[in-house]
Every structure is written in C-alpha cells, then in structure tokens.
C-alpha cells in the first residue's frame, strides 16, 4: 500500500479489514468466508477474474484463494502479498474446498465456530455468491462449524465511499472522457461512414487504454455501442457492440467503460448522425432536459422512489413519459459491485430498496434510458455520481449534449 499523503488513490485496507473484524465480533462470526467479486475487490485491491474466495480471520490479515494459474499475479497486484494469496488446484490437499476448510480449521483453536458466508441472488452474473454445491461441501468439510449468511457485514461497510475510492472513480471517468473525445474525433466530418459499432468500441478502447485504463470492465459487452433501431430497445440497458454499420439519419449511442485501480468509469453519450429530423431532435432534447433535471435533483436525503416520482412527473409534463424507462440509477463500487443500491432491506430481496435514503459520499451510476422502439430511436445516459448533502457531482465531465454529426 502507498502513503496516503502522496497517493490520492490510497485506501486504508488495514483499517478496512479491522472494521470487518470488529463487525464480525459483534455478530459472533469467527471467520468470514467471502466469495463475491465485490468482496474480494474491496478487501484485496486486486482483480480476481477466476472463482476466488477470501478468508478473514478474527484478527490479522485475510488470505485470498484463487485458481493457481493466476495466484502469483493476483498476489503481486494485491497489498496482501504472496503469503496471503493462495492458489488452489486439483491436487491432494489443494482443491478449493479442502484447502480453504483446512485453512479455516487452523484459524479456529477448537476447530469449532461460526463461519460467515455470502449467500443470496443477483441480476449481476459475476456476483459470486456461494453456490449450493460449495455450501454443501464446506458444510461437510467444516462439520464442527456453523455456516451463517453474513454478507451484510461487507455491504454495510462498503456503502459509503472513502476519498481514495472516489478519486479512483474520478480518474476512471477522466479516462472515459478521453475515450468519448476519441470517438467524436473519429466520427465527425463524415468519419462515421463505413464504420461499424465494433470499430467505435475499439476506437474508444484504444484511447482509454492509452490513457491508462486497464480494461473495458462491463460484463454487458465492454464498450456498448448501439446505432439506429438498436438504440431503441424497450428497456434498452444492454447493447454490446455489433457489426452494424453506422448510417446517416440514425441515432448513435456510445456507452464506454474504463477501469482505474478497480475504480470504474461508465459514461454514455449520444449522437444523431445527420441529417436529423425535427422529431429526432425533439426526442434528443427531451432526453437532455431530463438528464439535466435528474442531475440537479440527486443529493443525499432523497430516495430512488422519490427521485423516480419527480422525474416521471417532469417527463409527463414534457409529453415524453411514454419513452422513459422508470429507473434512474444502479449501484456501483469497486469492480464486481455493480447492481443494487444500498442494502438488502427492500420489499424484494436483493433488489434496490426504493425507499433507501441516500447518504453523503454514496456513489452510484446515474443511469437513464429513453426508448422509442416504434421510431427506432433511444438514448442512454450513465455517469458515476457522488452524492453530497446539497448536490451531486458528476464524475465524467464530458459535456452533456446530443450533437448532430455531419
């Protein structure tokens, strides 16, 4: 770990682990066995793309476990170092169940105790909940232990973002803006002609990588590009770039993603490829107006449902409510934390609680979708925002507009 004085991206992982251990003690958890990607990112400060786990003892440093072929790299990237990143493999004593359960037994003086696990469900595929099979195997291997669901320990502690995390998101957003500028420079003045969605995704990726982005992290297809009718899918929240060629007279949606030290850039910008009709311009102006209104409204103290109500009223007054998808955000955190807002305390388990009251220094993606499938047009806005008591700050600074490209 670096020095907090010199490093704007510093996160105090030692304190983070101590906070988890304090909460474990309160909840009578002897060992925490994390398996979600969000938990592993949040505790190790490294990217663990394979099935991985983290074992947090009651005191001292945690140990991460991952597929042996990637363990040395992960250890090198993590603040934990090689003594606290183990690799598992199909060898006697080294498969993930036996290795981890032996490790846990060594932590527990009597071999007995309560082991916190992560069990639940998510819309987000790479979430990493403990599977039924894994649960059964750990339960058998740790027969003197009680496995208890404890993911809320991490969820509560990870809710409010520290300065280092916010700065990582800001840097990732700065990089995303470079990607957007590169796309604009490439498509303007007829540059779009003959270009495909995949090519635009690549232009953005190259520019962002040159600026230091580690990858286009989104599981929805990396850089999501949609043109023409593909911008207007009902719901419209996932458009991996296709081989479709960009055409004059169509909308173009550019939703690109960068990664900086597990902080995530995620900004969608929209264009009309000229000549645009008055009707297309009307749709575009509607969308820009509601995005502006939404960003003016976001702050600590409001709730997702309150914000949605106000925005639907706004769109009703503007005569475009039929085209608004009634959702305005999704959760975000260090890599792997990309779905629900807040805690698992809403009416539908593991979905955002519509009455979650936002707090200062929560970070979320302001995510809005405008979809008119009948007219083959739609727009998307995404931008990480940090909430303060009287306003929100947009991390991507790329100017909000829907430009007509000639």
């Amino acid at each position: 770990m670096t020095n907090p004085i010199n490093d704007p991206y510093f996160i105090d992982f030692h304190q983070r682990i101590k906070n988890i251990q304090a909460q474990m003690q309160k909840e009578n958890i002897d060992v925490y066995l994390g398996s979600r990607l969000r938990t592993i990112s949040w505790t190790t400060d490294a990217f663990f793309p394979w099935r991985s786990y983290i074992v947090i003892p009651p005191e001292g440093l945690p140990t991460a476990f991952t597929f042996v072929i990637d363990a040395a790299r992960a250890a090198d990237d993590s603040w934990l170092g090689e003594d606290h990143v183990y690799g598992f493999a199909p060898m006697g004593g080294q498969d993930q169940i036996e290795q981890i359960s032996d490790f846990i037994k060594d932590i527990l003086p009597t071999g007995k105790g309560r082991v916190g696990i992560e069990s639940g469900m998510s819309n987000y595929l790479p979430e990493g909940w403990l599977t039924h099979y894994e649960y059964q195997q750990f339960d058998a291997a740790l027969s003197d232990c009680e496995l208890v669901n404890a993911h809320t320990i991490i969820d509560k502690l990870a809710l409010i973002k520290d300065t280092g995390t916010i700065n990582r998101f800001k840097e990732a957003s700065r990089i995303v803006d470079i990607g957007h500028q590169a796309v604009f420079d490439a498509i303007k003045n007829g540059g779009y002609k003959g270009m495909t969605e995949t090519e635009i995704a690549g232009i953005a990726a190259l520019a962002m990588r040159r600026a230091g982005s580690e990858w286009e992290w989104s599981f929805t297809g990396g850089n999501e590009i949609a043109s023409g009718y593909r911008t207007g899918y009902a719901g419209g929240a996932c458009t991996p770039a296709s081989r479709r060629e960009i055409q004059a007279g169509e909308p173009l949606m550019v939703d690109i993603h960068s990664t900086f030290k597990l902080g995530l850039g995620d900004h969608a910008h929209n264009y009309l490829i000229g000549p645009a009709t008055d009707r297309q311009r009307w749709h575009a102006d509607n969308f820009v107006s509601i995005v502006k209104k939404t960003l003016e409204t976001y702050r600590a103290g409001i709730t997702p449902s309150l914000l949605a109500e106000q925005m639907m009223d706004f769109s009703e007054q503007g005569g475009f409510a039929d085209y608004m998808v009634p959702g305005y955000e999704h959760g975000i955190g260090l890599l792997g934390d990309e779905w629900r807002i807040g805690l698992n305390d809403g009416p539908f388990p593991f979905w955002t609680n519509p009455d979650h009251v936002y707090q200062e220094n929560e970070v979320l993606i302001c995510a809005m979708q405008y979809a008119c499938p009948d007219e083959n047009i739609g727009f998307r806005y995404e931008n990480p925002i940090v909430l303060y008591n009287d306003h929100c700050e947009e991390m991507s600074k790329y100017p909000l507009a829907i430009e007509e490209i000639t």
Partner: protein, 133 residues
C-alpha cells in the same frame, strides 16, 4: 556389494544428509529458504512418521526423522508409507501422486510451484541411496 539402508532409519538419515550436502550445494537449491515435511501414514510398524527437511539460503540446515508430530514446516506432504516408497523407487511420479490424491500437500501452492524442481532434485538424490523398504 553395497550395504542397503533401512528406509527412514537413523543410518538412512545420515546417508541422506551426507548425499544432500555433497550433491545439492546452495546454488543447486537456488539459495532457497524453506522447510518441508513428509508425513508417512501406515508405516510397516503401524506408526506415523515424518521426514523433515530445512534449507537456509540453499544450505542444508536440518533433517529430522521421527514419530508423531513433525516440526511445523512451510510445506507438508502427507501420504501412505508405500506411496512415498514408490516415489523414491521411481515407480510413481510425485505429481501424479498429488493429482490422484495419493499425496496431500499443505502449504501455499504458489510457493510450492516455484519449489517443485528443487523438491524433484532432492528426491532424485534420495533415490540414489541403496534402500530396503
């Protein structure tokens, strides 16, 4: 005719130490500092034995044979006496023994991967000792 040593006997241990010191100088052991224990289950006399090695900066530092609990090593390899005997006789590959769960490794696998070739060198030296199992 060369006299054979009884596997894991004090005489076998002394011969092993002599050969390891002479045939595995620190540079052959990559100046490694580590320790390893073989845990022998189901020995011919029904007991459980251990064979503990320690290297410091590549120098042979310690080799212990005993019954019961081994000094805490960085890596512990557990298996039947007969499995270890087959490996030492060259009848079974150690890696295959691990992959078929005839042997069980405890310790950091990432570090173990780096030491696999050293362990192989060590086993090859031990295999040269004329031994009765």
């Amino acid at each position: 005719m060369t006299e054979n040593f009884k596997y894991l006997s004090p005489q076998w241990r002394d011969e092993a130490e002599r050969r390891l010191k002479s045939e595995l100088p620190p540079e052959r052991m990559n100046f490694v500092t580590s320790s390893m224990s073989n845990i022998y289950k189901n020995c011919p006399d029904g007991s459980e034995k251990f064979l503990y090695f320690k290297f410091e900066d590549g120098k042979f530092a310690e080799m212990l044979i005993g019954k019961g609990e081994s000094p805490k090593p960085e890596f512990a390899v557990t298996g039947d006496y007969e499995t270890f005997a087959k490996i030492t006789r060259g009848e079974l590959n150690a890696q295959k023994a691990l992959m078929t769960m005839k042997l069980k490794l405890k310790g950091n696998m990432v570090k173990a991967l780096r030491l696999a070739s050293l362990s192989d060198r060590l086993n090859k030296v031990l295999a040269t000792i004329p031994t009765d199992y």
